[in-house]
């Protein structure tokens, strides 16, 4: 082997350097020299033997990727790129998550302040948090759609049943991963969602000590505190991503081994031709698939960044308070169905029989649906059942909302709409300077001193109209429907059967201190059956500081 010095003597410095660079490129790419790469970029046919296959054989990064795909599966249909997108989202979450970890300490003393520091002080911190949180929700959607697509095209049928099983593991891990991140900001939203989820573990069937110890393992103490936060943090940043990565490789290996399934109509019933690709139907990974994946990466990043800037803001509620569960507390939307089901029946049945039973059915589905045909026309029953299931999940998600079975009394519900314990409202968004001190009724919107307050009062009137009724025909509210239930009399209107009869409601704004205004909502309604008795008497108070910058926060977090 000639040394570089010998080559310089023989070829001259320039040619020798070019040859050396060429050699280095060929080593780095595990087989492609500069000319091979330029051939690809020019769209020319490869030389023989095809050097574009060598990175798959000799290189680490491409050895798990197929060197060519069936052209049929490179179109949007049938895969919609959802499996690839799931992988992309996992990488995306890892990267944005590591950046957030730089500014985060998993301790109840500082975690919440760390989030505000990320939001208000760290350059691009809010964007990074939004990207991570938005990415998490997109990942849940993408993974769920990927499963749905696989089911609808029948791609989980023989020989790909086990691929589906590993996919189910990945779906469950994705949900747990997303949920375990929920606790980390240490706000009310986080604290109570996780408290409920972990408490469900205590209902584990068997001896009580079993459930208690599972609960202790997760909480790190009898109640969630420093130990629990640290445990969830380690699950979120270490154990679950590691498990997910392992199962991802099992899953993807199976995908490559069996080949990407063709659209159901493209092969004869019962045949699987994914691994027998005729030469003229091959699309090679280099350069076509690689280029396409780069383009998809760019588009996905554009979507995520645009979404996180203009359309999505990660919520942040007040600091976790173990002594107060806020009214209208809800699970994250992708688990709202479980909150709905838990309202209905015994928690042991829901959490340890119904949901695991359903999950097991999903795991084993490909072993039960053994019909040879993947074609839609031959799977009408299965596809119809899956659509019904999706409808059931929509309804269950609605059942998870506060509207279902956890409505409070009408006075508190109106107060909740205007001065909610957590989150935003029309009244909370009135800027400090426009909170003109005075006493307002729900019907004062037209006479309001400024349009901000007018908007809030309109909301006040709307909320009162929904939950109030008038006993006389000329009252300001809907006429009352009186329901005599023996020992009690209830009042309803067109919207609800729990309405306040002839209520008085006021919003009082006063100067509480220098630079601080107090908002007070006062509700009262005398008992029509027993005058002198108050059927409703409720007051809710909120405070606003001139310097609290709440309008700014509202814009930040809305």
């Amino acid at each position: 082997m000639a040394t570089f010095v010998d080559q310089v003597r023989e070829l001259g410095l320039k040619q020798a350097t070019i040859a050396k660079v060429d050699e280095a490129v060929e080593r780095l790419t595990a087989g492609l020299n500069v000319n091979d790469i330029r051939d690809m970029l020019r769209g020319e046919e490869p030389r023989r033997p095809n050097p574009r296959l060598r990175p798959h054989a000799d290189g680490f990064w491409l050895h798990i990727r197929p060197s060519f795909y069936h052209t049929e599966v490179t179109h949007i249909y049938p895969s919609f790129r959802l499996g690839w997108l799931s992988t992309f989202m996992f990488v995306w979450e890892t990267i944005t998550g590591i950046f957030l970890m730089v500014f985060y300490t998993p301790s109840p003393d500082v975690a919440y302040a760390d989030i505000w520091n990320i939001l208000g002080n760290v350059p691009l911190g809010q964007l990074m948090r939004n990207l991570h949180r938005f990415g998490a929700e997109v990942m849940v959607v993408v993974v769920a759609l990927h499963m749905l697509r696989t089911f609808i095209t029948g791609s989980y049928k023989q020989p790909r049943q086990f691929t589906w099983v590993t996919g189910m593991v990945l779906l469950v891990l994705t949900l747990i991963l997303s949920f375990s991140g929920y606790l980390l900001p240490w706000d009310q939203l986080a604290y109570w969602a996780v408290t409920v989820a972990v408490s469900a573990a205590e209902a584990t069937p068997g001896p009580p000590a079993l459930g208690e110890n599972i609960n202790l393992l997760l909480r790190g103490a009898p109640v969630i505190g420093a130990g629990g936060l640290l445990r969830f943090y380690l699950l979120h940043v270490l154990l679950l991503p590691l498990l997910l990565a392992i199962f991802f490789f099992v899953h993807y290996y199976k995908v490559v081994i069996h080949g990407h399934s063709l659209p159901p109509g493209r092969e004869a019933i019962g045949e699987d031709t994914a691994k027998r690709v005729p030469r003229d139907e091959r699309t090679y990974f280099l350069p076509d698939i690689a280029t396409s994946e780069l383009m998809w990466s760019a588009l996905t990043i554009l979507f995520l960044v645009a979404g996180a800037i203009w359309f999505y803001n990660a919520p942040l509620e007040r600091h976790a308070n173990p002594l107060v569960t806020p009214l209208h507390v809800v699970a994250p939307w992708y688990l709202a169905w479980s909150q709905g089901w838990l309202k209905l029946a015994d928690k042991v049945f829901i959490a340890f029989i119904f949901i695991p039973g359903l999950a097991t059915a999903f795991f084993l589905m490909p072993y039960f649906e053994v019909g040879k045909s993947r074609r839609y026309a031959d799977r009408r029953l299965g596809i119809s059942v899956s659509m019904l299931f999706i409808a059931l999940m929509w309804i269950s998600n609605w059942m998870g909302s506060p509207e279902y079975l956890v409505q409070s009394s009408p006075d508190q519900e109106v107060a909740q709409e205007l001065l909610p314990q957590e989150g935003h409202s029309a009244l909370k968004e009135v800027p400090y300077d426009f909170l003109e001190p005075g006493t307002y009724t729900p019907f004062d919107a037209e006479d309001a001193p400024n349009p901000y307050l007018a908007a809030a009062l309109e909301e006040f009137e709307r909320a009162m109209q929904q939950r109030s009724c008038s006993l006389s025909d000329d009252g300001p509210y809907e006429p009352c429907q009186v329901m005599d239930q023996g020992d009690t009399v209830r009042y309803g209107n067109r919207f609800t059967n729990d309405a306040m009869p002839d209520p008085e409601a006021q919003l009082i704004i006063d100067d509480y201190q220098d630079n601080m205004r107090r908002l007070t909502l006062v509700f009262s309604a005398p008992d029509p059956q027993n005058p002198g008795n108050e059927l409703y008497a409720y007051t809710r108070t909120g405070y606003r500081h001139e310097m609290s910058n709440y309008e700014e926060e509202t814009r930040l977090l809305q």
């Binding site: 109570w192 409920v196 408490s199 202790l216 002594l323 569960t325 838990l342 239930q485 409703y536 409720y538």
Partner: protein
């Protein structure tokens, strides 16, 4: 070869030793997993999360009046007397309660369903949980699902002005569950002491809404 001589289906010594070796490794792995779980169970001192909370008797709510909130001790204090007829909209005996319910109870603030903190709703005259909608009467008996049992109770003691214990809440068996009975305060009670280290589960009585036929 030695294996070839073994009858079909028989086991060579080598194969047998492999099984024994594998079984011992499986056993060891199971033991190690058990130890890891044992390792991960948090350590905390017994009684770290309970304590004795003295409450002056004048902070006690009136008979069948709305409850008083003691967030530090995580309990509500209620003062019950179903024979008095006062506050019957909040506290009246159900059809399966023949004995009057009289005395003071300290009720644990945590919902028996999934650990949320329920709150007293003045308009509806009952405790309501914001998470899954369990409802409880003033004395903690469950009105509506999905709570698996009535609210848990803490031990209550009555102390005189010299901090001498005058009376301690008895336990009572309701619906096969041992829980604290309401404590009737003896004359001369100056302070009520609530021991949140001593908690007993609430009983799983029938839902009140079923007895009243008013379940949603």
């Amino acid at each position: 070869m030695a294996e070839a001589a073994v009858a079909e289906g028989g086991m060579t010594r080598r194969e047998f030793l492999y099984y024994i070796w594998g079984a011992s490794m499986a056993l060891f792995t199971a033991e190690a997993a058990g130890l890891l779980i044992y390792f991960a169970i948090p350590r905390f001192r017994e009684g770290q999360f309970g304590g004795a909370f003295p409450v002056p008797v004048d902070l006690l709510p009136g008979v069948n009046a709305p409850p008083t909130n003691f967030p530090d001790g995580r309990f509500w204090l209620v003062n019950l007397d179903t024979s008095s007829g006062e506050g019957s909209e909040r506290m009246s005996p159900a059809s399966d309660e023949s004995e009057p319910i009289v005395g003071v109870l300290a009720i644990y603030k945590v919902c028996t369903h999934l650990g949320c903190i329920y709150d007293w709703n003045g308009a509806n005259e009952r405790f309501e949980c914001p998470c899954h909608g369990s409802k409880y009467r003033l004395d903690g008996r469950r009105i509506e699902d999905p709570a698996p049992r009535s609210l848990d109770r803490f031990r209550v003691e009555a102390l005189d002005a010299n901090q001498e214990v005058l009376a301690t809440a008895d336990t009572a068996v309701i619906a096969d569950t041992t829980t604290y009975a309401p404590l009737v305060l003896p004359d001369g009670t100056a302070t009520i002491r609530v021991d949140t280290g001593g908690r007993l589960d609430g009983p799983s009585q029938p839902l009140l809404c079923e007895l009243r036929d008013s379940c949603p």
